[in-house]
Amino acid sequence: MRKAFVPLVVLGAAMFAYAPVAIAHTPYESTMLLIQKVFYFHLAAWAGLGLAISVCGIASAIYLFNGSKVADRLGVAGAELVVVFCTFGMISGSLWARKAWGIWWGWDPKLTMAFIIDLVFVGYILVRRFGGPGAEKLAAAMGIFGLATTPFIYKAADWWRTIHPQTSVMKTLSNTEGGAIMWSTVWFCIVTFLLLTVLVLAARTRLERLKTRLDELYLAAEDL
């Protein structure tokens, strides 16, 4: 990873620079026009979120059962990224919802799920920071349970909203005219965000490792 890091950063930066150009070249969606363009980054953020949740949950389980320090650092990095992507996704989603449905927030299943996942992983970060000695293990439990509860939250919110349908109905993106170029742009953005996720995970894991190393050095210096 260390050797590939710099080239990948360059690649990621180039992809992010090109993404707006690609999005500008896509045709307007027939009903939502300009606002639909937020979709390219919006969906891509959810892809990054999915990856980050999985990484955090699985790394937490590994840490809990064999105490691997690498897994612990990956867990922190994953949890922080989940919060970042969730917040970004909710903001971009709100903008879109305002334009498409006329409301900022509609308790749509996906919105509800994003909100609760945000709470779960903010909980992860809080317990890690303020949990006192052994807080890493508490946080790891939160990571595992957070990953496990995600599908339940989605299913529950889905039934809650669709059994009694209310004003807003989930709009599906029509991809009839100019569909191919729109979908290729969507995929381009998803790959860009996934690459970003991996890079940030790597950088954040390294930062956590250096922090521990620094603490050890301080302790060693005090003993002298």
Binding site: F130, P133, I144, T149, K155, A156
Partner: protein, 225 residues
């Protein structure tokens, strides 16, 4: 051996509780205070909007459940008995199961007072399908207590446990709350919506199975220092 250990832990908790009724009585009154506070938010001109009763019932259950969890483990921490319990040559998951059953018993005892009270105050027909109501309450309580017991047990060592327990527990148990509220609403509705209630019961059952399994699996490494 496994179930005998769990039952012994449960018997110990029940015996301590029966001596003073401290947790049961305080939890019941806390739940009733919740109902009172919430009714001020919803009741307008002597009537609560339709379906409010289910929401108020489950909020009261969740809040009083947190209190019962906190008090139960505070008692263990105060006497340093949790350490002794963990040192005992017994399978750790059995200890977890015993503690969880104790919490479930406490929460059910609260619900026995709470449910008729909500039924009476909000003129809701909660007992239209007593069988389904009992199933929803039981499954919801087990789901809530399964995650709650594990988190309360692991937070015993943390200094900030009082505030951390709700922060960690509520987002994880959101599915239980949604399913409980919606399932109970379906029972209150006229005519009673059996199919919807059963749908939510199936979600609750699935949640219970997954989270009890996860908790039994992670209790051992979590409680090992």
């Amino acid at each position: 051996m496994f179930f005998r250990t769990a039952l012994l832990v449960l018997r110990k908790d029940v015996a301590i509780e029966l001596r003073s009724y401290e947790i049961v009585s305080t939890t019941v009154f806390f739940a009733l205070s919740c109902v009172a506070i919430l009714s001020f938010a919803f009741v307008n001109e002597g009537q609560a909007p339709e379906g409010t009763a289910a929401g108020i019932l489950w909020i009261a259950i969740a809040f009083s459940g947190t209190l019962a969890l906190g008090r139960t483990f505070e008692r263990e921490r105060y006497g340093e008995t949790l350490k002794a319990l963990l040192l005992a040559p017994a399978p750790r998951p059995a200890i977890y199961l015993g503690k969880m059953l104790g919490i479930v018993a406490l929460m059910l005892a609260t619900e026995i007072v709470l449910v008729p009270m909500v039924n009476f105050l909000f003129a809701a027909s909660l007992f239209a399908r007593p069988g389904l109501l009992v199933v929803i309450l039981l499954l919801g309580t087990v789901g809530y207590a399964s995650v709650g017991t594990l988190f309360a047990a692991m937070l015993v060592r943390a200094r900030t446990r009082d505030v951390m327990l709700p922060i960690l527990l509520y987002p994880i148990t959101v599915p239980v709350i949604i399913a409980g509220v919606r399932g109970t609403s379906a029972l209150i509705a006229s005519p009673v919506d059996d199919a919807v209630a059963q749908l939510w019961i199936s979600l609750l059952a699935f949640f219970d199975v997954v989270f009890v399994t996860l908790a039994l699996w992670t209790f051992e490494p979590l409680m090992t220092e």
